[in-house]
């Protein structure tokens, strides 16, 4: 009988290489790069299989064949696919996202213009959603099974179940047209469109920088309706998740501990339970924020909001592939960034996740 001594020391060393803080950071960056690259590749391929002629977008329907052929060559569409992709990726690595066919400008400039619009809308919507959603969720959880719970549930479900374009148009008709509480489509009254030189691109901040309170309030009155309508959706989601997290936390032992200590129910709910609810909730909020940051195409169309969603959609429908690729990379990066941010927040809120 022979006896084999098993040794796995090498494997252990390998494992150690990736186990440290540095290792996990490298892994994170690596996976980010892979994700972005994959995003790029998929988008690129989509662009090539799309049955829309990108040359047509550039030259128009009535251009003579000679012009068409020349532009096609200029756009590099006669090269093999891999070569086009290679050129595209190496350009991006040099910070060149190419030029949009539709706007005749560098894609990066376009994105710098449209992204703040989306960012502003998504941020305001998320703020409203969080400010209302969390208290509603808490309220529902505390009164589980009673009418306030049902009320919040129904309110949330209505938000979940409403076609946004219908809600948007109805909202405009009621609050803008009939009641006149808010301003109409657009980020500012049409007349003001070129009054503001974009510094940050965020209308609410730019108007304040210019110190023009009239314009600021104008911007507020324009953003409030689309943001509220978007917020309704994230609110419904946040309230619902808050409720279920809250119920979970309220059943925990430490809540009993707090009650034993004689602490008021208000403090137990808002300090003890909510403190713990915020931990998983951060991820939920981040996710809904990230989704809003992709740009809500339909809301943007209805409210003439020149945002990222509309930009990418239009570009896609007109086969403006540089713009679509650039926009997608931005959306992907934002998505990943927001997830990272939620990770950081998670660590801040949950001492157990800290090192």
């Amino acid at each position: 009988m022979f006896s084999v001594l098993r040794s796995n020391r090498d494997g252990r060393k390998r494992a150690r290489l990736f186990s440290g803080t540095g290792g996990s950071f490298i892994r994170l960056v690596f996976s980010l790069i892979i994700t972005l690259f994959g995003l790029l590749l998929v988008t690129f391929l989509i662009g090539r299989v799309l049955p829309i002629d990108p040359v047509l977008a550039a030259v128009g329907d009535r251009a003579p064949q000679a012009v068409y052929d020349r532009v096609r060559e200029e756009m590099g569409l006669n090269l093999p696919l891999w070569q086009q992709f290679y050129i595209y990726v190496s350009n991006i690595l040099q910070g060149d996202f190419g030029r949009s066919v539709l706007t005749s400008r560098p894609v990066l400039d376009d994105i710098k213009r449209v992204f703040p619009a989306t960012l502003e809308l998504a941020t305001v919507a998320t703020i409203i959603g969080v400010a209302l959603g969390i208290p509603m969720g808490v309220f529902a959880a505390v009164h589980k099974g009673k009418w306030p719970d049902h009320l919040v549930r129904i309110f949330g479900l209505v938000g979940y179940s409403m076609p946004i374009f219908w809600l948007g148009l109805m909202g405009l008709m009621i609050f803008y047209m009939k009641l006149g509480w808010v301003a109409g489509p657009g980020r500012l009254d049409a007349f003001y469109v070129d009054f503001i030189e974009p510094t940050t691109g965020l209308m609410l901040i730019d108007t304040l920088i210019e110190g023009d309170m009239d314009l600021f309030w104008n911007a507020v009155s324009h953003i409030i309706l689309p943001a509220s309508i978007l917020a309704y959706f994230s609110l419904a989601y946040i309230a619902r998740m808050t409720r279920s997290f809250m119920l979970e936390q309220l059943g925990q032992e430490y809540i009993l501990t707090a009650r034993v200590k004689g602490i008021s129910e208000t403090r137990i709910i808002w300090r003890h339970a909510l403190g713990n609810v915020m931990v998983p909730l951060v991820t939920v909020i981040a996710l809904s924020y990230a989704n809003l940051l992709e740009g809500s195409v339909l809301t943007e169309i209805i409210f003439s909001w020149p945002g990222l969603g509309q930009y990418i959609t239009n570009s896609l429908l007109k086969a403006d592939m540089n713009a679509v690729l650039g926009g997608t990379i931005v959306v992907g990066a934002v998505f990943i960034g927001v997830n990272l941010l939620s990770d950081v927040l998670y660590r801040l809120l949950d001492p157990r996740a800290r090192r």
Binding site: P51, I52, D53, L56, V59, G60, D61, R62, A63, P64, Q65, A66, V67, R70, V101, L102, T103, S104, R105, D110, R113, I128, A131, L132, I134, P135, L169, L172, M173, M177, L179, G180, W181, V182, A183, G184, P185, D189, A190, F191, V193, D194, D214, W217, N218, V220, S221, I224, W270, I301, I302, F303, S304, P306, Q310, Y311, N314, L317, K318, A319
Partner: protein
Amino acid sequence: MRKLIAGLVLGTALATMPLSANAETPKNALVMAFSIDDIITLDPAEIFEFSGAEYAGNTYDRLIGFDNKDVSKIHGVVAESWDVSEDGKTFTFKIRDGIKFASGNPLTAEDVAFSLQRVILLDQSPAFILGQFGLTPDNVMEKIRMTDDMTVVMELDQPFAPTFVLYCLTAGVGAVVDKAEVMAHEKDGDLGHEWLRTAYAGSGPFALNKWTAGESLSLTANEEYWDGVPEMKRVIIRHVAEAASQQLLLEKGDIDIARNLEADQIASLQNSDTIKFQNQPKGGLWYLGLSQKNEYLSNPKVREALKYLVDYDGISSTILAGRSTVHQAFLPDGFLGALNDNPYTLDVEKAKALLAEAGLPDGFNVSMDTRNTTAIMGMAQSIQATWALAGINLEIIPGDGGQTLTKYRARQHDIYIGRWGPDYQDPHTNASTFAWNPDNSDEASAKPLAWRNAWDAGDLTAKTDAAILERDTEKRVAMYHELQRDVMANGPFVIMFQETEIASLRNNVHNLDLGPSFDNNYYRFVTKD
């Protein structure tokens, strides 16, 4: 927590407070909602889009113009007068004195020659309009030249009908750019093209203030305009894609003019006491293109039957209410030689008989590529319904503009429902696409609509070529009449309607000047109470 409550209170306050200021646009500014996301360039040598052309029409002066009320009245704009040589091949233009560019530079013959040469040299989409006269990048420098400070000469390769030449010069390619300004921005010998795509160098009644693609376009009045300073000091055009949003803005008074309201919206606003409408027949034609590659559609009896299967009056009075008139010839009303008789009406029995003659008494299946706009979808669905009466099963394939067009140009459609807009005001513009197809092979270099529908136009091609050389206007008219009748009877086109543009205006807005083409809608005469 306290912050949260504060936020809540603020949120509620904001949500309920009437924030919107009293909606009223300033008296000396014109605010307009318009679907302008088709603008991809501001260089007049490249512009070939509807709203882009409208921009150029308001910001650049052209060599020649015509009267919006009566297209046959041609007059000089930048050209004060012109002479045509005996052999009809040389045009001499006398340039108007006293025109100034926005840069302050005076407009001279040098700018005019440069502008025309530039169109040919840049060779962008609209360049063919001048190219028809035998101008190429190689010969243009000698064929178009200035003879003195105020005179430009243009030599043609054939004795074209003068009206043809002059109408071509009323198009966007006739716009005069500021040579000094443009050349100051030249890069790599591009004649300033890259720069001018997003900038301005003209002398028109308005100057570009700012263009934000897909968002807004704003213009300021040229305070030194030679032909009368506009009353509107600013014109702001906001891109509003959704027609319902345009309507809301207009009703609310946040804009003065809405340009893209749909027929039903207009109908619902007919009784409004704050809004009025201005109609202008346009050159655009709605038509069905029937691919001759399709075995059923290549049958002349079938083509004829289909022409009896459209509810012309129904559509034009409902889906396109006020936005079209029935028109079945390929030259729109208002064009030289346009034919205005409309022989076809909805006649299911006749169509059935024709189908039976064609050996298809039970109809057939066919598909139609349809752009997904309200108007086109509406028409398509009505056509679908009437064709079904004759047993023809029409499948609608909806798609975005880019998509349907790509298919159409690649001759992969059965039927394409589309709109054709003339490029310039001469009848040749439509004749050369509906009735002209020198090479019907897939590899052809010229791809007019006849080619797209794989229709061998036969001797019509030669007849079309002959018509532009006919210098006797009356004879020329007769030639076009014949071409139109021929295409109407045999062509692969079911031409249905001529477009009418309707602008919706607030009551206090007057004198918007809408022309027959998309590049002669002028803002310069607009006044507001």
